[in-house]
């Protein structure tokens, strides 16, 4: 790789929501349909001001609900438009019926989504229960650690979703308030550079062709349904390569590389923490501090939860002796969180695998701090040589 070609970028101060809205401005979708919900409201609000000021050519559909937001987005995408929306929590839940339909119709809709706890009880703060509830909807799910990643991820998601080998919708998430409302210094691409990176959208099909009329959304019974699900499953697998390619290209051009997972000081690590989103930032600080004390600790950040990076995780965990999976939601299955069970299943067929424990943390926006994470590494350091794993699923920071 040549080190000379990183394209010059603008340094700006933006919150996560502002960063995502700005990425949307650069993408200039043909249609945006959106409905307000904390903490994602600002994204559509900021975008509306871009529409009002003529900075984008988007047709903004101010729908009466998130169900209609996703329905209108689907209609627009089926008409060959690049279409987007944004939401969180209850809004995502109300869209739930339409999410698998967007995926099955192979519409590459990109949706910024701000992680927020789901009701009840009602709560507006961060956890991942909304996104995890929709994890089997056929959408790519890309988690962001900070505002910079949120911005970079939106641009990459458009390119990934619209790749003809993928043609699946994509969710790009940030953590509610922590990222969405936290101001950071970030780098953004020049407008024309962002535009050329995402490229022109070439739809698979369009309703707006009266010479070759098509029927979209047929009833598909025992004879065909199964075969029609397979290409979707295949596209989800193929998406792993495309995500890696796009992440590499982005890094070569703009200096920030992306992959399915991020491995932080893993090479010689004996124990590691596995997490998603903003907690990775806090955990990296803890890793750095413990490393100065000579501890062989590392971190694995799952950036892409769908498709699930089975191979990459199995490889990254192979040489570890103990790992803790951090889940910011609980499956209510009686056995921990969704990231934990999926990580375990990724490792089940591996020869070498570490001891694995699960920590559920941060529900409803409960803060996670450095000391709590340090204590987890302490336990992992003991666990690596212990006979017995002890408590498999634990809850962090809950009052007794």
């Amino acid at each position: 790789m040549t080190a000379t070609t990183i394209i010059k970028q603008l340094t700006v101060a933006k919150t996560g929501n502002e960063a995502m809205a700005d990425a949307m401005r650069q993408v200039n979708p043909d249609v945006v349909a959106a409905y307000p919900i904390t903490p994602a409201t600002e994204i559509a609000q900021i975008f509306s001001s871009f529409v009002a000021d003529g900075m984008v050519t988007t047709d903004m559909v101010t729908v009466e609900s998130e169900h209609s937001a996703m329905s209108a987005t689907i209609g627009a995408a089926a008409a060959g438009a690049r279409a987007m929306t944004a939401t969180a929590s209850q809004g995502l839940m109300l869209m739930a019926e339409m999410l698998p339909i967007a995926a099955a119709l192979r519409l590459p809709i990109v949706m910024p989504e701000v992680n927020r706890a789901i009701s009840g009880p009602i709560n507006i703060h961060c956890d991942h229960s909304d996104t995890m509830f929709c994890r089997d909807a056929g959408w790519l799910q890309i988690f962001s650690e900070n505002a910079q990643e949120a911005y970079d991820n939106v641009l990459q998601a458009v390119k990934i979703a619209e790749d003809p080998r993928v043609h699946l919708p994509a969710l790009v998430t940030t953590d509610g308030f922590i990222i969405s409302h936290g101001m950071e210094t970030i780098k953004i691409l020049p407008d024309d550079e962002a535009k050329s990176f995402v490229g022109e959208y070439k739809p698979n099909y369009s309703l707006l062709n009266h010479e070759k009329p098509i029927t979209v959304g047929s009833i598909d019974l025992q004879n065909y349904y199964f075969e029609h699900r397979i290409p979707m499953i295949e596209a989800m697998k193929t998406a792993k390569d495309i995500i890696k390619q796009v992440g590499r290209e982005y890094g070569e051009k703009y200096g920030r590389f992306y992959d399915l997972i991020e491995q932080y000081k893993i090479d010689d690590a004996e124990v590691a923490l596995i997490c998603l989103g903003s907690t990775a930032g806090t955990a990296k600080d803890v890793v750095d501090a413990l490393r100065t004390k000579g501890q062989k600790v590392g971190l694995i950040k799952i950036r892409v939860f769908r498709p699930f990076p089975v191979e990459d995780l199995a490889a990254a965990l192979r040489n570890l002796r103990a790992a803790a999976v951090f889940d910011r939601s609980d499956s209510l299955s009686g056995y921990g969180g969704p990231v934990f069970t999926e990580v375990c299943s990724a490792l089940f067929n591996s020869e070498n695998k570490p001891k694995i424990v699960n920590y559920i943390y941060g529900l409803g926006g409960r803060d996670i701090d450095i000391h709590t994470i340090e204590a987890v590494y302490d336990r992992l350091n003991k666990l690596k040589d212990a006979q017995d794993t002890g408590e498999i699923v634990s809850y962090l920071g809950v009052r007794k």
Binding site: D59, H67, S68, G75, A77, A81, T215, S218
Partner: protein, 313 residues
């Protein structure tokens, strides 16, 4: 307005081969309303008999672009298609071919579960025509009562029993709800009157903005009626004044047809339908009288409104 000859000369946009029951009212509505639209058109359909019977993969009855996404959202979905077209034309990515947009939904998909999505699309002012085919129940799932089911009809979720005479509540007035949205055109018509139906669709399409037409459609299965009676049954609904033909242009009500001295007693219409069979058992005379009085009152109110608006014009 198009003559029958002109309509018949058109290439069919909704063709046979679908699996709707014999005598079903809605295929007529699709065929006729599309014949009345000259420009290129995209159709969005809601889940229900409409979609399930006309697009069984790998077949389709639709010779125009057709999109189905779900049950309660054909208005919202159609509004997205329309928005996409406007946007793509504006940015030069699509040709301006004068595309028009029609959403179809059953009564369940419109009066009930889809009312919010319809209301939103109408309020936002999309250039689309929503056509509700109203067969008075959730037919596709097996004749469950909807907000459009007439009072005392027998359905599977409001059945006639030892103490209940079918559905207890009155049918919603959906056209009036749509008038309340201040849209430029609202109309009520029937599946069995080609002229009234195509005239109304043609008129609707001559207007830019949101339009709404509700069409009474037979369902021989749910109504327990004869399959050959679609025209007769829907016309009798008009002649009994249960389902008057009218239109509302810019808020002004106008009758399309007044049966005058040809007005028939409601019972004549009800008696041809198995779903009202129980009303003709001894002891239920009061129920019949009650719904006759209701129809008479509604008819008088509608006439007064139409008279009032015709004076003003």
């Amino acid at each position: 307005m198009a003559t029958l000859k002109e309509l018949a000369a058109q290439e069919e946009k909704f063709v046979g081969g679908h699996t709707s029951c014999a005598g079903c009212g809605y295929p007529n509505i699709f065929r006729l309303s599309l014949a009345a639209i000259k420009d290129p058109v995209v159709v969005v359909g809601a889940t229900g008999c409409c979609e399930v019977n006309t697009s069984i993969f790998p077949y389709t009855s639709w010779k125009v672009p057709f999109l189905h996404s779900a049950f309660e959202n054909s208005a919202a979905t159609c509004s997205g298609v329309e928005a996409a077209y406007q946007s793509l034309v504006k940015s030069g990515k699509a040709k301006d071919e004068n595309f028009r947009f029609v959403a179809f939904g059953g009564d369940g998909g419109t009066y009930d579960i889809g009312l919010q999505s319809l209301s939103g699309a109408m309020e936002r002012g999309h250039d689309l025509l929503y056509i509700c085919y109203d067969n008075g129940a959730y037919m596709n799932t097996g004749i469950q009562r909807s907000g459009a089911t007439p009072r005392y009809a027998n359905t599977t979720t409001a059945p006639v029993g030892k103490v209940k005479p079918g559905k207890l509540q009155k049918k919603k007035d959906l056209a009036k709800i749509m008038v309340g949205h201040n849209v430029p055109y609202v109309a009520q018509t029937i599946a069995g009157n080609w002229k009234d139906l195509t005239n109304k669709v043609e008129k609707a399409m001559s207007i830019r903005g949101p339009k709404f037409i509700v069409v009474l459609a037979t369902c021989p299965l749910g109504w327990a009626t004869k399959t050959q009676d679609t025209v007769k049954l829907t016309q009798m609904a008009v002649d009994s004044c249960f389902w008057p033909l009218y239109e509302v242009e810019n808020g002004k009500y106008k009758l399309s047809y007044d049966p005058k001295d040809k007005k028939i007693p409601l019972a004549e219409w009800l008696k041809l339908q198995g779903r009202f069979k129980h009303l003709f058992k001894p002891g239920n005379e009061n129920l019949l009288a009650e719904i006759q009085a209701e129809v008479d009152q509604d008819w008088a109110d509608l006439k007064a409104l139409c008279d009032f608006h015709s004076q003003k014009v």
